[in-house]
Symmetry: C2
Amino acid sequence: MRTPSERAELALLLEVAGAPKPGNVDRDRDLADLRFEQFLAGAVGARNGLERAADAAEPLGDAFETAVVGMAEAAGTNTQFGCLLLLTPLVRTAATGDLTRERAAEVAESTTVADAAGFYRAFEHTEVAVGEPPDDATRLDVRRGANAVPVLRERGLTLYDVMDLGADGDANAREWTTGFPRVFDAAERIEAADGPLTDRAADAFLRLLAEAPDTLVVTEHGEAVAEDVRQRAEGLVDAEESAVRAFADDLVERGVNPGTTADLTAAALYVALESGVSVAGVTTDGEGSGGGDGP
Amino acid sequence: MRTPSERAELALLLEVAGAPKPGNVDRDRDLADLRFEQFLAGAVGARNGLERAADAAEPLGDAFETAVVGMAEAAGTNTQFGCLLLLTPLVRTAATGDLTRERAAEVAESTTVADAAGFYRAFEHTEVAVGEPPDDATRLDVRRGANAVPVLRERGLTLYDVMDLGADGDANAREWTTGFPRVFDAAERIEAADGPLTDRAADAFLRLLAEAPDTLVVTEHGEAVAEDVRQRAEGLVDAEESAVRAFADDLVERGVNPGTTADLTAAALYVALESGVSVAGVTTDGEGSGGGDGP
């Protein structure tokens, strides 16, 4: 694993392979309209955009748009939009120096209006679940896609500014504007753990879910549901895997998909891979623990 | 999915995700010393070499060696050596024209002594299970790695010639020297099937296993075991998945790993992807069937 874009692609793959990840597609579960193999294809398709993100000469917004287009074409749906929104600035940070919280914050803060335009254009390539914009921001509704670009220019809004507008309702945007604290904290937990990375991914997911209400769940089901999911996740940290699997079944039955927590997990895996964590360095004692239940 | 190297990488991922694939790592099973996540990393790491394979200006043997080095570094072990041996000429064929049996045979036949040297060097980067060479070919034992290169030069042996020497004992080598007939036939079955590609991968694997004794099993356990495995696979084509899973458990318990059949499956998936099969084009009726058993 030699380059940031390779590690970012692997982070996408390890994220979806981590199981159980309640409410999400994982190694053990396809959803009715979203299959594991689509995430594999989405990760492969995103790589070119991730390579552009690693090139300091490329506008970050263009790199993100390229990654989203590649993902959407390959997967035929939106598999990893939120993951890529977090990975793009982190890959740029790693490719241009040390991947620290401070430098990642600087990369986010140094984005431009052109980067914001790339972000808006990305929404034209795939369906993304988003909340209603505030009343005073309907002209900046991301669902307007490229139509919002003149407004961005008029107001001089950078990609950082756009994230700042969304930070209240979207945990990914909040990471962007606060130096990616939850991502780096989760990465430290992944680094400190042992065993297969897919198991660490599942554990990181559950702890992130316990930490704060998933903002995609807030958007789709409201704050009460999201807080209930958070509390139940909190009660399951360090619980038996069977209890986590029962929780997973319940979320899937109710159509509750904590997708933003999966995004944070992928980004945390990426930071951990950059810090030297590797599937090659894992030792296990006997039969692997990942995914297998067999007959 | 825009390029041959992207499709080849996806084929590697779909192959390992296909389940059940008796005796092999799959979406539902890690082996004691070989985990699913290592195959994910191996596929990512191989991509640069696959990109070189798509570039007609690059010697095919160098491209193969690059793919193996990238795979071995990323996975920390040999996950996909045999897959890459089949994918490399097929990617070259697709990248330079139509991916037909005839053109693939021509690509194999047009390899050089330098390509053979790259193949031998590749053995220095990872452990590969191989049989004993014939008595008159010990100087060409692949385990000699680069030490065998002067012998290749002396005798003017191309990569095709080297494959021809191995064609009796290795199904991958046999594909190389006969126009990849089993790969293309299996690809046609994958194209004609429907449902998730990971399910089609598992079906393709079982049919290939039923078709001829797995040559890795012959090398490791002898012809009688390989023929027994073949016959049992033959009896399970179109059987209930639970019966296939019981067979899988038995093979794993006995340490029987039909790895060459997995190589053929990956190559067949690649050919199918080149022909237009796509995870984006799959429709399923309700809850996905891939991998999930849940609690």
